[in-house]
Subunit: 336 residues, 2 copies
DNA sequence: CTGAAAGCGCTTACAG
DNA sequence: CTGAAAGCGCTTACAG
């Protein structure tokens, strides 16, 4: 490993001067700057992160905390993660994975080790113990998602209202009046008070009422077979339903099967639109699923940017709400 | 932040003594140990990782390098990742995400910054530039996967022979004699010389010949619709095929659809078994997919353990080959 | 504009 | 068994 001292020696300057040009913290003569830069290039110098961290008391590390036990990471969460890691790197930060339990145990220990400058929270609950812990500890953090009352906190989340509204626009314009929403209640992996579910349910109930549509909402375990069963039963008991919205990543493809099991076709007899999933799910479906696609790339990036802005300049970026985007597919059609 | 000095002051000992008890590096009287431990508990002491890293020249950080650009992370890779992060934490290491390009550019810079002690490589190619870079740099690394000639390197990988063999056992015992293998050639996201694909193809060709079975192998883009199309065509042109093995996570569910489009049923007319995917895919399918399940949890853990063992004690654990495990489903049945 | 020197919080020979 | 002190590689007032 080549150190700053090596660079200083080769350039014939002091170690302080090297530091100034590396960090751009003080004005330096073009001539000396050139010498230093040449030396750095020749020696392929990279400053030691641990030493720097110790000196400035900042690590340039961000922790991504997610509850492995309570909630299996799906492909949608994966997009947050990939995007967040990339965004962090772009700002010269590194993202460290903290697969810990949702109960905040262990969180404190990790924080006091001075390993990270800030924390990024995924899979946030309406009443989340981790948020309480982080607030108390005074640790800078940002959420991808939000609690019931996130005022004063930093976050980026999906705009559930706009998302449901856009989906309803599509379906209404195709003549659908009788809708069903399949969510994810009571199944394995369901977190009580999980934001996306609660907010989608609320938005759906309100918007459907406002628009004078008829609707039915059911919960469903997070498996395709559960999705298939529930869909088959649903269509049997409510033959007037012509469109189904699904917010349950694991059950989504099962819903498609369930329609067929009910002796009906997608999209001729029943339209299906998925809410908040990744394009990946769409490509796994045949016919391709129409969906309101989770803005995973954008949210992951925003979460990191909000956090980094706060860390570097104290800026408290206002909450960012991003709607899911419409991804055309072959699973919706005019109402029969 | 409370420091070792704080603990030393409160316990009435020197800072060196505190270090000895924290690290267990030297014998300490039970009495003084007790005093120190009491002080640590009272002050909730956690030693500063940056300072320690600087002193011992080890960061307790591991980098997980994966090619974001070239290969989208799927749910199977996600399992490696989660498991690796958990295993790292268990050994008091942290896993940092390095979503970099597959061409090894940038890898060197990151290494020389002294941020990590070792590197874990995912999605390894038969001829992988990153491996060359790491070898040259002398950076300790372990692969989840392996190159064409991994001798001398540390790795854990799937035992493709055993996996294909086990799948063939199942199908043969059900009376299947005409098999098809659908892989992932030429599509988006396909890496040239991607180990799992090449090794599965080889094993399949060899084992099928040894057993005197008839077979046909086709490549397929990584989407469900491509899977559906190819399957439909395949079954049209080769009506004698009674069982399909799929090694293409994205196309798998499409294959199920393709069978139906060909006017046949799964599993009554055609058996389908997936190779190397996660249980997650099975739950998204209806009927549930029978599969040889990727040992993601185990491989992620092994990769970290192999690397950590080497870092801590210089132990070069022999290569670990783990077969996929059979996951019963409802997609295979006796040959018609 | 440049440099000498203290300090960040640990670890670890070395001495006692 | 315990401690004084040097050193890990940086940053940053402070002096010149």
């Amino acid at each position: 490993m080549t150190t700053m001292q090596d660079v200083a020696d080769r350039a014939g300057v002091s170690i302080a001067t090297v530091s100034y040009v590396v960090n751009g913290t003080k004005a330096v003569t073009p001539a000396t700057r050139a010498k230093v830069e040449a030396a750095m290039a020749a020696l392929n110098f990279q400053r030691n992160r641990a030493a720097r961290a110790l000196a400035v008391r900042r690590t340039q590390n961000l922790a991504l905390v997610y509850p492995v036990v309570e909630r299996r990471l799906g492909t949608t969460s994966l997009e947050f993660l990939t995007s967040a890691a990339t965004a962090a790197n772009r700002s010269d930060y590194h993202l460290t994975l903290w697969p810990i339990s949702n109960d905040a145990v262990g969180l404190t220990d990790l924080l006091s080790a001075g390993l990270v400058d800030g924390v990024l929270l995924m899979e946030v609950l309406l009443d989340d113990p981790r948020v309480t812990t982080l607030r108390q500890a005074g640790t800078p953090f940002a959420m991808i998602g939000r609690t019931a009352d996130p005022s004063g906190d930093l976050y980026a989340d999906i705009d559930f209202d706009a998302t449901v509204s856009a989906a309803l626009d599509r379906l209404e314009s195709l003549g659908h009046r009788h809708l069903a929403l399949i969510g994810e209640r009571g199944g394995t992996g369901a977190l009580p008070g999980y934001g996306p579910q609660v907010r989608t349910d609320e938005a759906f109930a309100r918007l459907v009422a406002e628009r004078g549509l008829r609707s039915i909402t059911v919960g469903c375990e997070q498996t395709a077979s559960a999705g298939a069963d529930i869909t088959q039963r649903l269509l049997g008991e409510h033959p007037e339903v012509t469109a189904i919205l699904v917010r349950n990543e694991q059950a989504t493809l099962g819903v498609m099967v369930g329609v067929r099991q009910a002796g009906l076709r997608v999209p001729d007899d029943v339209s299906v639109i998925a809410l908040g999933t990744t394009g990946e799910i769409s490509t796994m479906s045949s016919p391709a699923l129409t969906m309101m696609q989770s803005p995973g790339e954008e949210l992951g990036r925003l979460g990191v940017e909000i956090l980094v802005d706060y860390l570097e300049s104290g800026t408290r970026t206002p909450p960012q709400l991003v709607p899911c985007t419409f991804l055309p597919g072959a699973s919706i059609a005019p109402a029969r």
